[in-house]
């Protein structure tokens, strides 16, 4: 055990820190859930790629740097420290990317990964359907093979980033007679295909961060199948392993929120101390963000040493989503009587970032598998409790 950074790791930190100092835009970009913001963020992805920072853990031939997971964590720390824009292509980079690495053919990797790293192709997720939410095996949208094409018919919903994205990935039923998790396939669909209709859905902040996607006999080339036909469930589950768990929400994000929370408390100490529970909540935010960082480094170290991720990684999502909720609700308590005010009086608007974060934190225990589903997974696969 050695909890200090190596010379190489420190050099890497220095390099990314100085690049970010030069390149992170002074003014924050618009939300990527607006049309303008989406295009601004796409531009930022191109800037990152130009600096060779698109996806540092990927091999060089796909637009990466072949970095270790520890370096990935360092990258993320510097990224959040520098307040760099959020990654509009996170569905692609953090979720589909690792899946392609594991299950994609050489041609598929070459076709998709570099454009993903470049931000030229931005990805949406297509898992849920109106009758398949937590029960994902109830998926009904069909993709029927006809010659060298799949014909896709049905509907996806809550598809994150689908309003302006270029591609969508998800699971489709390729065997119409199959049931539950059999007969599903993992397929990539261009969103500009004929027969695709996208209906944006406004989220709690009024912006269209997700959408319904309708497929009316959409033709998709069979080379867009990832993994074997009928293996969709396996492909989707395999990548629920470490990279998804580790990459989707890196500790730096929550450590930055915890740091802001401590500052918010200090600036508003007198008001905050009216509620004696706040001080403890601030301490807990710091400790839990720290614990999340420690566990992530521990997991990354184990993987770097050739170990495997176990079912215990399913504890991650519950932990960070509840931490994020509790940090933001503590911030609301500190702000107190003006917590809901977005503009119009002195002091209002300063809290806009906290309000945005507070709304978004409410979705944490729901997306990426509800926390109830996660707790079932923990109890059944990690603890071995009966189904």
């Amino acid at each position: 055990m050695d909890l200090s950074f190596s010379k190489v790791e420190l050099e890497f930190r220095k390099e990314i820190r100085s690049w970010l100092r030069e390149n992170v835009p002074d003014e924050p970009l618009e939300s990527f859930d607006t049309e303008l913001g989406f295009h601004q963020h796409r531009g930022w992805e191109k800037t990152l790629y130009a600096g060779n920072w698109g996806m540092v853990t990927w091999p060089k031939e796909y637009g990466g740097r072949g970095c270790s997971l520890i370096e990935w964590l360092i990258f993320e720390e510097e990224y959040y420290r520098a307040k760099a824009p959020l990654r509009v292509n996170q569905n692609g980079l953090f979720l589909l990317g690792p899946t392609l690495m594991e299950f994609g053919s050489k041609e598929q990797k070459e076709k998709f990964l570099p454009k993903m790293a470049l931000g030229e192709e931005i990805w949406a997720q297509g898992w849920s359907e109106p009758n398949a939410g937590s029960d994902m095996a109830a998926i009904q949208t069909k993709a029927i093979r006809k010659g060298d094409k799949y014909v896709v018919t049905g509907q996806k919903i809550w598809s994150t980033r689908a309003v302006w994205a270029d591609w969508i990935f998800g699971m489709f039923r390729t065997d119409p007679k199959s049931e539950r998790h059999h007969g599903l396939s993992f397929i990539l669909v261009p969103l500009n295909s004929k027969g695709v209709t996208i209906r944006p859905i406004a989220q709690l902040n009024g912006l269209t961060g997700f959408a319904e996607v309708f497929f009316d006999e959409v033709e998709v080339p069979t080379h867009c199948l990832l993994g074997e036909e009928g293996d969709g469930w396996k492909v989707a589950m395999a990548t629920a392993g470490f990279e998804r768990g580790l990459m989707l929400r890196s500790p730096a994000r929550f450590q930055e929120t915890a740091r802001r929370l401590v500052d918010l408390y200090k600036e508003n100490k007198q008001q905050a101390d009216n509620d004696p529970s706040i001080l403890e909540a601030v301490l807990r935010a710091y400790l839990d963000a720290e614990s999340y960082c420690l566990l992530t480094y521990q997991t990354a170290s184990r993987l770097v040493n050739g170990g495997h991720i176990g079912p215990e990684s399913s504890t991650n999502k519950v932990f960070w989503s509840e931490l994020d909720q509790s940090m933001h609700s503590t911030a609301m308590s500190i702000i107190g009587a003006r917590a809901d005010l977005m503009s119009g009086i002195k002091g209002a608007g300063l809290t806009a970032e906290w309000l945005d974060g507070w709304l978004f934190a409410q979705s944490g225990p729901i997306y990426a598998g509800t926390n109830e589903v996660q707790r079932n997974i923990i109890s059944e696969r990690m603890l071995g409790m009966p189904r």
Partner: protein
């Protein structure tokens, strides 16, 4: 950066686990409660032979020279079986404290421990109480001049105090002021904090093991016990109770391992890291005690069932070595100090 244990460290953990789970069974612990034997000398001898008791004593004095990172996993295993013999305090509190001191007498005491001549205990810096005082030859404590002294137990007047944990044997000491001065009061601040840190760390590590034990008991019970024609472990309400314990435990572990590393390297932030570990591990154990009892229903509330061996022990470990209020206050002092670093790059800086 490498936040893993070595193959050797894991092997030592495994062999210790095998030994302890075979030897330190709940029925053996219960025999100890009933009997008036003050110590399980047979067990102590075996652990002395295995080198666990002298594990952290330097090699030149006959020990194995293990550090806190090597020993933390063993302490966890001792917690798992709720070991009553003061093995963990010997290795993680008494020995490191003696190793901090100069002079012949501390070295002589360490050699005595290696030879198995006697046991040494320490007085709690918060309450002054001493665990296992009557089976010790010496008690290490601060006298009213803030000097660290080794009192001979034969000179002291002991009175036993009952704990809710039937396995805990704790005493107040009178007439134990004199003793042999090990260190003058010029190092009081340092040694006082050192002692608190050692005890807190030892308790945190054992609490991880206790949490795992209570979780295991509840999971196994939930598989066997049927109601509504199903194992109760198939009900989500029960599943989620225990999943919450698993989450707490999973996130407490690395804080304890980081504390072990900071302690070993004398890191400037070691006190904070230890307070973090103490809070995380003791809270995990406390949740395990609560939720495991709930999963067991009335059975868990009986004297005959073993759960209370571990839940009572977890109360002791949370209360001693600095209660959670002490550790929270210590963390808050730092958190709001001007030079305290926070944010995404601060953890390992």
């Amino acid at each position: 950066m490498d936040f893993t244990f070595t193959e050797e460290q894991l092997l030592l953990r495994d062999s210790t686990r095998n030994f302890l789970t075979a030897e330190v069974t709940p029925s053996r612990l219960r025999e100890r409660w009933k009997s008036h034997d003050v110590a399980d000398n047979d067990l102590w001898e075996k652990m002395l032979d295995m080198g666990i008791i002298s594990a952290t004593i330097p090699e030149e004095l006959g020990g194995s020279g293990l550090n806190s990172v090597d020993f933390v996993l063993l302490a966890e295993e001792c917690g798992y079986v709720a070991l009553l013999e003061p093995v963990v305090y010997t290795a993680l509190v008494v020995v490191p404290l003696l190793c901090e001191l100069e002079g012949d007498f501390p070295r002589e005491l360490l050699s005595g421990l290696v030879r198995g001549d006697y046991r040494i205990s320490v007085a709690c810096p918060f309450t002054g109480l001493v665990e296992d005082a009557d089976t010790s030859a010496f008690v290490l404590k601060f006298n009213s001049n803030k000097e660290l002294v080794a009192c001979s137990v034969t000179d002291a007047e002991l009175s036993q105090i009952r704990s809710i944990d039937p396995g805990r044997r704790v005493f107040s000491l009178k007439e134990c002021e004199s003793g042999k001065v090990l260190m003058g009061n010029n190092r009081f601040e340092f040694l006082h904090e050192f002692l608190i840190n050692s005890m807190a760390f030892a308790n945190a590590a054992q609490s991880l093991g206790l949490t795992q034990r209570m979780l295991d008991l509840a999971v196994n019970y939930s598989k066997d016990r049927h109601q509504f024609k199903k194992p109760i472990g198939s009900f989500q309400a029960v599943k989620h109770l225990l999943a919450n314990v698993a989450i707490k435990l999973e996130f407490a572990k690395p804080s304890v391992y980081r504390a072990a590393h900071s302690l070993h390297h004398g890191a400037p932030k070691r006190s904070l890291h230890i307070s973090h570990a103490k809070i995380a591990a003791c809270e995990a154990a406390s949740l395990a005690a609560k939720n495991s009892l709930q999963a067991h229903g009335a059975m868990g509330y009986t004297w005959e069932y073993d759960l209370h061996i571990f839940s009572k022990r977890s109360l002791v470990l949370s209360a001693t070595g600095g209660d959670l209020g002490f550790h929270k206050a210590r963390l808050l002092d730092s958190l709001f100090s001007d030079d305290f670093q926070l944010g995404p790059t601060a953890t390992f800086s």
